[in-house]
């Protein structure tokens, strides 16, 4: 099979797997949240609510697609797609097992970070194109927030890169053989790096306590207040895909990716479980905090997180230099 065809096939498989996973990740989140809040969660559609995501998707597909009369139509209609594409593209460079991935680029992590920052374009288009004041305020907040949090996010993600000495995600994963080899167990640096990564992830994904762009108690639903039906579903899909992608990246960078007991073919399963663990950590935070204000969010980023991650990155570089080079 020629390489080009294989690329298409792999891309197709990963894309569909991600979409399927995202629908069920929403169910996982709802069930988990329900347990935290002493509720049951979705229970009626299928056994234990297992068919709920399907029902939700069907509902969203059948809904009327309302376009506000005063919306900037091309921008408004294009925004969900522009938002979705980068969120899906981030899965391209993630290796799910040694050699199993769409494209294990030699600058894999750079590609991931660059593409993941692109989502802001779609967000801003949605907020601007809706011609709604809530959406506009939300879009402004989005730009503020994502610019502020991309730097700490990148710095935190670069810590394992410096430790490994490679930008290729496959190399970073391979460098973390054995449980104690996981970068999260690297003394001090690993734990701090993982913590900063989680915080920056929350902000980059617009999750509580950094969900000021959605902020339903102030801005109703933020930039997507005017979206309905399938366009809303696309935005939702993109958001969860992005969240899942950063969870996979977190599991890969800090939790040893596919490393785990059992035969090698269990690797992807371990990887998925670790990614879901990171996802649940993020969800746990979501249900335990109140949203913080826009100025406070910026203060946390520029005054605390950015210097801290920068120092951590420098400290990592010093440690690596003292050890006489990168790599395990």
């Amino acid at each position: 099979m020629p390489d080009a065809v294989w690329g298409f096939v792999a891309g197709f498989i990963v894309l569909n797997a991600v979409i399927g996973l995202v629908t069920y990740v929403t169910l996982l989140e709802r069930k988990f949240a329900a347990r935290m809040q002493s509720r049951v969660g979705p229970y009626r559609v299928g056994p234990h609510g297992l068919l709920q995501p399907i029902a939700d998707a069907l509902k969203l597909m059948m809904k009327e697609d309302v376009i506000p009369a005063t919306a900037d139509r091309p921008v408004y209609n294009l925004a969900p797609l522009v938002f979705l594409i980068p969120c899906m593209l981030i899965f391209a460079t993630i290796p799910f097992a040694p050699g199993l991935g769409v494209a294990d680029l030699n600058i894999g992590i750079l590609f991931f970070l660059a593409v993941s920052a692109m989502e802001i374009v779609g967000l801003f288009m949605g907020g601007w194109g809706s011609n709604n004041k809530y959406a506009l305020l939300s879009a402004m907040r989005a730009v503020n927030q994502i610019i502020s949090y991309d730097l700490p996010f990148i710095f935190a993600a670069l810590v394992p890169v410096v430790l490994t000495g490679s930008l290729r995600l496959g190399d970073i994963a391979a460098a973390q053989a054995g449980v104690l080899g996981w970068y999260v167990f690297f003394p001090v640096i690993g734990q701090l790096g993982f913590l900063f990564y989680l915080i920056a992830t929350l902000a980059a994904e617009n999750r509580v306590p950094f969900d000021i762009l959605e902020a339903e108690s102030e801005l109703v639903a933020g930039f997507r207040v005017e979206y309905s039906g399938m366009k809303f579903a696309l935005i939702q899909l993109g958001e969860y895909a992005h969240m899942l992608g950063t969870s996979f990246l977190g599991a890969l960078l800090f939790l040893g990716a596919w490393a785990g007991p059992g035969p090698a073919w269990l690797g992807p399963v371990w990887f998925l479980l670790k990614a879901l663990f990171v996802f649940l950590l993020v969800t746990w935070v979501r249900w335990s905090f109140v949203r913080i204000r826009v100025d406070q969010i910026l203060a946390v980023s520029w005054k605390l997180l950015l210097p801290a991650t920068l120092l951590l990155l420098m400290a990592t570089a010093v440690v690596v230099a003292l050890r006489g080079g990168a790599g395990a």
Partner: protein
Amino acid sequence: MDPEARKVVEMGYGGSERLTMNMGPQHPSAHGVFRAILQLEGETVVDVDAVIGYLHRCHEKLSETLAYTQYPTIASKTDYVAAMTSELAYVLAAEKVGKIEVPRRAQYLRVIAAELQRVASHCLWLGTWCLDMGGALGGGATVFLYAIREREMVLDLFEALTGARLLYGFHQVGGTRYDVPAGWARQCRETVDFIDRRIDEYEDMLEQNAFFLARTQGVGVISRELAQGVGVSGPLIRGSGVDWDIRRAEPYSSYQDFDWKVPVEQEGDCYARYRVRMVEFRESLKVVRQVLDGLPEGPISSRPGVKSVAQVRVAKGEGYARVEGPRGEVGCYLVSDGGAKPYRMKWRGASFSNLSVLPHILPGHKVADVVAIMGSVDPVFGEVDR
């Protein structure tokens, strides 16, 4: 669409830096129906125009057409979150005007109903306020669901007592309509102990949460002068350093028999109001226990049974009675011409006076603070608009 028509509805920037944003009456944080027209500079509020009246139901006029036996059930609809205290204000006014004695057992039952109502009302306030700050799907929803769970327990008590869960009709001129059923006191004690433990959990969850503190401390400060000038009452004025509680200043319904503490905080911010209410939770539970311990035997109403609503008459005169509701001073001014219906009634809603402080404190805050401050004021729009 016609391009000319399109131009008209373009956003009204008008070249200036200000944005007019309409918050409500259809808004997730409107706590009922409230419209705030905000003038924004960026995210900062520079001016507020508060519009009320969406829930006006002619309570004062309505009271002139309903007999003294009928109106208490309607009075509970002014502040539907604290129906027990709204009813109480009306019957106290009628008793004051008509110089009607109330048996001690009825007075004690009224206290227990009022204090349980305060607990239920504060539960709802805590839940919705955290919902405002954390969002319907955010962290606040967790506290909301916990608080609602406890509120349901109090509503179960009310259901056993009156048969209703929201609007009770428990009070009547001359006493109460219902006596406690068998086993109620034990159920009540269990509930009180349970909620007492749960309040510890809320405090642990919120007060050690840096984000919660960041959102509430120093936000929405009402100075002592402003609080007294605007005439706010209840937790708001106690949060601003004024030691004022009608239950202690002008004891009604045998409040002088019980021993409790009036919490006062000096800062006047959202956090101070939160602290005041959290202490009130505990103090209310304490009063409930004391009432259960000392509940006297005897009749629950000084009024003989009547066959027609017109048989209950109040002597000619006028008077004002006020009670300390969960949101502050609930007052009722009643004029009687000696008939079976009031000649005129004037209602003082605590939320109305409390809400009028908003235009003074909102400017200078961010949009996110608007909902936090509004939640800390705890308005109920049934009471604002009446």
